[in-house]
């Protein structure tokens, strides 16, 4: 997946958690939890949604790396499971 595709997935999962948020208005560099009203249950649902969509394992100790939209995309891009050769 390209970074843009990953970004689309991240925004889609975010939309489910914060339906009132406008993705276009998000500052990709700023902390997500500051911009959106997200609590620990929301954040867990967020990483679970990403895990389901992209197959990436996100251990709790890596949560601080998922701070902004750009940071999320970078983290996920680096850890995409390698596609199996058919």
């Amino acid at each position: 997946m390209t970074n843009d595709e990953i970004r689309t997935v991240v925004l889609r999962v975010l939309r489910r958690i914060a339906p009132e948020a406008d993705p276009a208005a998000l500052d990709p560099d700023a902390d997500l939890r500051d911009q959106l009203d997200i609590d620990s249950m929301d954040f867990l649902n967020f990483v679970l949604g990403l895990h389901e969509a992209l197959g990436v394992e996100i251990p709790e100790r890596d949560y601080p790396q998922m701070s902004s939209l750009d940071a999320c995309v970078g983290y996920l891009a680096a850890r995409q499971p390698v596609a199996r050769a058919s």
């Binding site: 914060a18 339906p19 009132e20 009203d37 609590d39 620990s40 249950m41 867990l44 649902n45 990483v47 679970l48 895990h51 394992e57 996100i58 251990p59 709790e60």
Partner: protein, 475 residues
């Protein structure tokens, strides 16, 4: 033929709007079966049936609003074919009979919906159970309860009975609170108009939007000729609202306002009636969090646990040490609850707060609590709650740690007697054994009803919660 009445929906909810019927005439229904969806100012919820039977007639169509306790369907009870139920609000019979509830009245202050055929009897006041919310309404409207016929089970007086008495006193036609047009209701909500004592000028005493507009315009307008809208009131708009996005936004705004007014009334009542005392304690969360981190490393992502479930479980178990924290203050005394149904304060995304219950929290494993919590939060914010989730909390927990708050000194939800608050987990200096280090600490608070418990017991309760959080593997 028996009547199924709208069951209690929570201590402060006295009416609801029918959203959907799940059964119809001719359908067999079983005890516990969900038969309809109703909407209150707080949420949409499932309501269930109380015994086996066959539905004969639906009395309230979708979109209509009715009071708690009002009959909404007629049915034939499975074991009681052929027993007749006289209509409610009838003339009193020859001799009063002592109050015998149709089934044991729940520990809550609300009226249990009728399950067995009952008669409307005029019971001497001292035998009748008069619930505080009903008493308060009667005081507010200036109604003498001795003169009110109760239409609830065993002759219990419902709020609807008090309102009917008030309406009869003021106008020859009986105004049924249930009969309010959707537009009238929306107007009333938007302008904060209380319809409980309003007199309707529509058919059968129904309250129309013109009636509400007159109330909005003020006392001068009330003197005006009721036949048509007064000059002061705005010109009547069509009964159907504008379609599309604007209507949705208006409905959402009206709903938010209704919820706000509900919360306002409940919180004001809490502060008026409950003598609160407040205690706090610092809890060292090192052991709990270390245990949790190790647990979560071993588990697949979907089975991850949040610290919140440790907190909820610790409270649910601590209640067994200090039962005066778990139960309801009803009829002037504390009624302890055997079961522990922890209310969870859940904030809604665009404002508003609901605190539905996780049932039997003390008996659930941490995994079960996690599933229940996630499900409850999802349904509270976007879906449908079950009626018993709104009526059954015996103690409430509020966790504002995610918002960065250090400690929360909350307002108790009547008729409960305690509220446990948790603030954020933060690294703080911690002195132990003469040494100072940094530990992850949270502030736990207790807001408690001084009628039900004293500070000493409150302190024992907080200490019990702390103790349990030091042994997370036993939670």
């Amino acid at each position: 033929m028996a009547e199924y009445r709208l069951p209690s929906l929570g201590a402060d909810m006295d009416e609801a709007t029918l959203v959907e019927w799940k059964i119809g005439p001719g359908d067999a229904v079983a005890k516990g079966q969900v038969v309809a969806l109703v909407e209150t100012s707080k949420s949409v919820m499932d309501i269930e049936f109380f015994e086996s039977g066959v539905i004969e007639e639906i009395l309230v169509p979708v979109g209509e609003t009715v009071a708690v306790g009002a009959p909404i369907a007629r049915y034939r009870a499975a074991a009681r074919v052929g027993v007749a139920v006289p209509a409610a609000v009838a003339a009193p019979p020859a001799a009063p009979s002592p109050f015998t509830p149709a089934q044991p009245v729940a520990a809550t202050a609300e009226v249990v919906a009728a399950v067995a055929p009952t008669e409307a009897v005029r019971v001497p006041v001292r035998y009748r159970r008069i619930h505080p919310p009903v008493r308060h309404l009667a005081e507010r409207l200036g109604i003498d309860l001795a003169g009110v016929t109760g239409t609830g089970p065993g002759g219990t007086i419902l709020k609807a009975d008090v309102r009917a008495a008030a309406a009869r006193r003021e106008a020859p036609t009986v105004a049924r609170v249930g009969r309010v047009s959707p537009r009238a209701r929306r107007l009333a909500l938007e302008h904060g108009i209380d319809l409980s004592a309003a007199v309707g000028s529509g058919p059968d005493g129904a309250i129309t939007s013109e009636d509400v507009e007159r109330l909005i315009a003020g006392p001068a307008a009330l003197e005006a000729e009721p036949a048509g809208p007064s000059a002061a009131a705005p010109a009547p708009a069509p009964e159907v609202g504008p379609p599309g996005v604007e209507a949705d936004a208006q409905r959402a705004a009206a709903r938010r306002l209704a919820m706000r007014l509900s919360i306002a009334e409940l919180m004001a009542r809490s502060k008026r009636e409950i003598p609160h005392y407040y205690l706090d304690i610092q809890v060292d969360m090192t052991r709990s969090l270390t245990w949790l981190e190790a647990e979560n490393l071993e588990r697949p992502m979907p089975k991850r646990l949040l610290p919140a479930v440790l907190l909820i479980k610790a409270v649910a178990l601590a209640v067994h040490d200090v039962p005066e924290m778990n139960g309801l203050w009803v009829d002037g005394r504390f009624q302890p609850s055997e079961a522990v149904h922890t209310g969870i304060a859940i904030s809604l995304r665009e404002g508003g707060l609901i605190a539905p219950a996780i049932h039997d929290a003390d008996r659930k494993t941490l995994d079960e609590l996690m599933v229940a919590l996630r499900d409850l939060v999802t349904r509270t914010r976007s879906g449908i709650l079950h009626r018993t989730e709104m009526t059954d909390p015996t103690i409430t927990v509020t966790n504002l740690g995610d918002q960065g708050v250090d400690a929360v000194y909350g307002v108790i939800y009547p008729p409960q007697v305690a509220l446990v608050g948790f603030g954020r987990i933060a690294e703080r200096p911690w002195a132990e054994g003469g040494m100072v280090g940094a530990r992850r600490v949270l502030t736990a608070t207790l807001s408690a009803d001084h009628r039900a418990s004293d500070g000493h017991r409150g302190g024992v309760f907080l200490a019990a919660i702390d103790r349990r959080l030091q042994e997370p593997d036993k939670l």
